[in-house]
């Protein structure tokens, strides 16, 4: 049913596109005329005859251009929707193939009507369609894997592309010469130019295909990184050959200049990108009052980086990647959570639309573009491309494996070679060639389209079953756990330490130095406020907590627990080490336990304690253990609590201090709270302010009476939860009065807690010492 509706809508859409889309050779050149052909009153100046006022008129021309663009975007998006309604097809055929087929169909329809289908103009492609995809890739690039494999990626990108271009170009020239009459006019430089265009692995195609096969991160970053970094090589070779093909020869000087140009183009692009990235990070420092436009800065600065690099003919792609990668850690620390979500979704949305449009236009352009088919040339191109890629990968891996710690296996090599897809960038570059200088342009165009179709269709469709067949490692879907994060950091420091002991400055040493430099100087400049000093582990921890809280709220507030929450185990299950045997461990009888439980239940009926997931342990009156809220909020609440206490306490309350001072004072001053009203009848609630590591802290007998592990509840009040005393803590003397350890969490204290809380705050280490002795 859904599907039928969808096809109907689609048909209408395409139908409306045909007369409109065909009327201009490309949306870019469509100009909206001011003239309206529906206007019944063309005369100006003649006021003699009064015509009736035009209630409704048809004036298409002046909205033509935006209308057409919107229609194309709408078509692309509906196509994307449609593929997912047909489940079987989308699991066999990658989306890019389907989109090209759709483009072919649309192009065919337009041609049948007799109009000229629009072609993928290079300007539109390079300025509007490509940047979102690259920015999306650069902003979310996994920096750690990228830098770890940078050497390998650079080898593949630079040396691999050079090898491919010369191999394909040279061999094609040979074939052309051999062929004789038809192809003799193709000279060496044109062949080399063609080789350089076609040998570059395309990021758009790689992303589109690799996204769906979920391959392991190493291979993904290798192929993807290669496709991004080979842009510089392609740019230089393209310009070099293009410039000199009209002249007809290249001297040694030109080659040398070409190498210099390559360095300038790539490093220059990166520098431009980094500068804009730092500017964006710096700007985001001040956006705390205008959160709404935060995403805008990210997008505009990145786009400016791209355009600025293009002004100087530097590598725009590398600039964009550098900008995104540089600005990300600082911007993310500064912007609000909503802005972060906005940026993520806008980038994904734009890159998705761009991606779809590119493939559709590729299909349409295939139908439209002037073709010149030459069997020899095309077949030779396809074969040489494949052979060059395989030889290149194998040869380079042989060299690279000498320097890598983790070697690349032959399975990896196969996937790298097979994943070298060509795409729309190559097509656009050929399209830019001037037909006057390059009479064989149409043949090149045909050959390129064939290669693109071959790689996208054949390689794209078969890579998924091949990955399954070869049992290549897939991406791990598990969420990053806090243990893994702790150990990742631990490993980093450990490896740096071992390198220092060994005495040679390796990879980890320099990374550590960079991190320290970053922490000391850069973060202070670019990150606003407190967060500049936040270490990575703590940032990760906060992010996790935030995510879990959001999950909890979204799942209905405690009714259904998110799976990640370790709610089945609470801190009471995790006990510290059994003490050494020289301390007597008193046993409490079950009857006593029951008594304690009853007493507590009656006393503490009306208080509800909100539980936190990570702090179910002895949360002694230390509200600052929890890193959840901002410090200020906690302090405010603490102050409120203390103010309330003042009304109920018989003992004078302290002035509201900062928490560290309060804690220090209470801990050090035994006479601060001389609460003598502890009698036998009242069950004394003893809380220990000291950290559990100090010996005194565990002198308090704690019989926990438990109420079972409660699931995490949503915000809203306090629940007193008394943990179970199942395991005995070390203790010196059992006490008459049961002393319980209370679990308490921060928030607005309930009324009954007010009775308890002065007791909580009053009792100090000293009391426990007294009892212990």
């Amino acid at each position: 049913m859904e599907l039928k509706m969808f096809i109907l809508v689609l048909g209408l859409l395409v139908g409306s596109l045909m007369p409109l889309g065909g009327a201009a050779s490309s949306p870019d050149t469509g100009t909206g005329h001011g003239g309206s052909h529906g206007n019944k009153n063309p005369g100006n100046g003649t006021t003699y005859s009064k015509k009736p006022f035009p209630v409704l008129s048809f004036d298409y021309e002046h909205v033509r251009l935006p209308f057409e663009i919107s229609l194309w975007v709408l078509l692309a998006s509906l196509m994307k929707l449609g593929f997912h309604l047909i489940p079987r097809v989308s699991s066999i055929v990658p989306e890019s193939c389907l989109l090209i087929v759709v483009g072919l169909l649309v192009g065919g329809l337009i041609k049948m009507v007799g109009e000229d289908p629009p072609v993928l103009e290079s300007k539109i492609f390079f300025f509007y369609l490509l940047p979102p995809i690259i920015l999306d890739a650069g902003y979310f690039m996994p920096i750690r894997q990228f830098t770890e494999n940078l050497g390998t990626i650079l080898m593949f990108a630079v040396v691999g592309t050079l090898w491919n271009s010369f191999f394909v170009g040279g061999l094609l020239y040979g074939v052309c010469q051999l062929e004789g009459h038809k192809l003799a006019y193709v000279d060496l430089l044109s062949c080399l130019l063609f080789g350089s265009i076609i040998s570059a692995v395309d990021p758009v195609a790689v992303l589109a295909v690799f996204e769906e096969i979920h391959i392991n991160e190493l291979l993904h970053i290798l192929v993807f990184g290669e496709s991004l970094l080979n842009d510089a090589v392609t740019v230089v070779l393209y310009h070099l050959f293009e410039e000199y093909s009209s002249v007809g020869s290249i001297t040694f000087m030109d080659v040398f200049l070409g190498i210099v140009c390559f360095l300038v183009v790539s490093l220059g692009g990166i520098v431009v990108g980094a500068i804009y990235g730092i500017l964006a990070a710096f700007t985001s420092r001040f956006t705390s009052h205008t959160r709404v436009i935060e995403p805008l800065f990210v997008f505009v600065y990145s786009y400016m980086a791209y355009l600025s690099a293009e002004v100087f003919h530097l590598s725009g792609i590398m600039a964009l990647i550098a900008c995104g990668a540089v600005m990300r850690p600082y911007v993310e620390a500064n912007i609000s959570h909503k802005s972060h979500t906005t940026i993520k979704y806008f980038l994904k949305m734009w890159s998705s639309v761009s991606d779809t449009l590119i493939f559709i236009f590729l299909g349409v352009s295939t139908v439209a573009g002037p073709h010149q088919w030459n069997w020899t040339f095309v077949v030779a191109t396809v074969i040489f491309c494949l052979v060059a890629r395989v030889l290149g990968v194998v040869g380079l891996t042989f060299v690279i494996n000498k320097f890598r710690i983790v070697k690349l296996t032959s399975k990896d090599q196969f996937i790298i070679a097979y994943g070298g897809l060509r795409g729309a960038i190559a097509f656009s570059l050929v399209y830019l060639l001037n037909p006057k200088h390059f009479p064989m342009r149409n043949m090149f165009l045909t050959a390129i389209i064939t290669v693109i179709f071959f790689t996208v269709f054949v390689q794209g469709m078969t890579i998924r079953p091949l990955v399954d067949l070869l049992a290549v490692k897939k991406k791990q879907e598990t969420k990053r756990s806090i243990n893994e994060e702790i150990h990742t950091q631990f490993l980093d420091h450990l490896l740096t330490g071992i390198e220092d002991i060994c005495g040679h400055y390796g990879h980890h040493h320099w990374k550590d130095k960079l991190n320290r430099f970053n922490k000391k100087y850069v973060k202070k400049c670019l990150i606003a406020g407190e967060r500049s000093k936040e270490p990575q582990l703590i940032a990760f921890y906060h992010k996790m907590e935030m995510k879990q809280a959001i999950e909890l709220v979204e799942s209905g507030g405690g009714a259904k627990l998110p799976s990640a929450l370790p709610s089945t185990v609470s801190m009471q299950n995790i006990q510290p080490k059994k003490p050494s045997q020289d301390r007597a461990l008193p046993q409490l009888s079950k009857a006593r336990e029951e008594e304690i439980r009853k007493i507590l239940r009656t006393n503490l009926q009306r208080t509800r304690q909100r539980l936190r997931s990570y702090n179910r342990h002895t949360l002694i009156a230390d509200p600052y253990e929890d890193g959840w809220n901002e410090m200020l909020l906690k302090r405010k609440k603490m102050k409120e609590l203390e103010k309330k206490m003042n009304n109920y306490l018989t003992v004078p309350a302290p002035p509201p201090d900062s928490p560290t001072i309060t804690r220090a004072r209470l801990a050090s001053d035994p006479q601060a709270w001389g609460l003598k009203s502890v009698t036998e009848s009242i069950p004394t609630i003893k809380v220990d302010l000291a950290s559990p590591q100090s010996p005194e802290s565990v002198n308090v007998v704690d019989e926990f009476s438990k109420k079972g592990s409660q699931p995490k509840e949503e915000e809203g009040g306090l629940t007193m939860k008394v943990p179970s005393p199942a395991k005995q803590r070390k203790d010196k003397t059992p006490d008459e009065e049961p002393q319980q350890r209370l679990m308490r969490c921060l928030s607005d204290p309930g009324p009954a807690l007010v009775f308890v809380s002065p007791v909580l705050l009053c009792l100090t280490k000293v009391h426990s010492r007294q009892y212990a002795m």
């Binding site: 494996n401 710690i405 983790v406 296996t409 598990t478 990053r480 756990s481 806090i482 243990n483 893994e484 702790i486 150990h487 950091q489 631990f490 490993l491 420091h493 450990l494 490896l495 740096t496 330490g497 071992i498 390198e499 220092d500 002991i501 060994c502 005495g503 040679h504 990879h507 320290r516 000093k533 936040e534 270490p535 582990l537 703590i538 921890y541 996790m544 370790p566 089945t568 185990v569 609470s570 801190m571 009471q572 299950n573 995790i574 006990q575 510290p576 080490k577 997931s613 990570y614 702090n615 600052y624 253990e625 929890d626 890193g627 559990p692 590591q693 438990k706 079972g708 179970s724 199942a726």
Partner: protein
């Protein structure tokens, strides 16, 4: 603490001795020679290395887990089987044995060998955390680990370290043991649980450093 007297190792590079070491630890002869030079430099040409010798390395000063790294070199569990305790000084053989934990696995190995290497490296990490040699990492020890990691971050680090360590223990318990009734306990992380929680981290590929094959003499000051 058990003090082991090291005295049998000669100071002259003996080819035969290098060969046995090479067989034992897997390093090549050149790598052993370079590491031996480094050992001599650190120990000031003596035959044994002490903790203070390692403490003099300047680059280690800024490492937050410095003391744990140094301790690991003197932990008997890392170079002798079934012995616990720490020693005061180590010889070159022990130094090399500890270093061999950071060798990359060879390229063509079977799954079992890979698993074995993984276990060995994780055992080394486990020993670093389990400071009282009882076979489990308790909450206290884990807290200590997190605190050390955050030790350069001041007060903010200390306060959240506890929370982080608690969260981590909770996670281990729920992954390893699953739902626990309120009167069950989770004593501490055993080695098997440790293996489980670090399943996602590819230790055998990550816990490696690049050992020089040629004497490039990029030596510490």
């Amino acid at each position: 603490m058990i003090t082991i007297v090291m005295g049998s190792f000669q100071s002259l590079p003996d080819d035969h001795q290098y060969r046995t070491l090479s067989q034992k630890t897997g390093f090549s002869l050149e790598q052993i020679a370079i590491l031996h030079n480094r050992f001599k430099q650190l120990s000031q040409n003596e035959e044994t290395l002490r903790r203070d010798d390692l403490k003099t390395i300047q680059d280690l000063e800024s490492n937050p887990i410095r003391s744990q790294i140094i301790e690991a070199f003197f932990d008997s569990r890392n170079f002798q089987k079934d012995v616990v305790g720490s020693v005061e000084e180590i010889g070159f053989e022990e130094f090399l044995t500890v270093m061999s934990y950071f060798r990359a696995p060879p390229q063509h190995i079977t799954e079992e060998q890979r698993e074995e290497i993984r276990r060995a490296k994780l055992r080394f990490l486990f020993n670093m955390h389990d400071t009282d040699n009882d076979g489990t990492i308790t909450l206290e020890e884990y807290r200590h680990v997190v605190e050390e990691l955050l030790s350069r971050s001041g007060a903010l680090g200390r306060e959240t370290a506890k929370g982080i360590a608690d969260a981590a223990m909770l996670e281990v318990a729920s992954i390893s043991v699953g739902p626990m009734a309120p009167d069950e306990f989770y004593e501490g992380i055993t080695f098997e649980h440790f293996l489980k929680i670090l399943n996602g981290v590819e230790i055998e590929t990550r816990m490696n450093i690049h050992f020089l094959n040629m004497d490039a003499t990029v030596l510490c000051k």
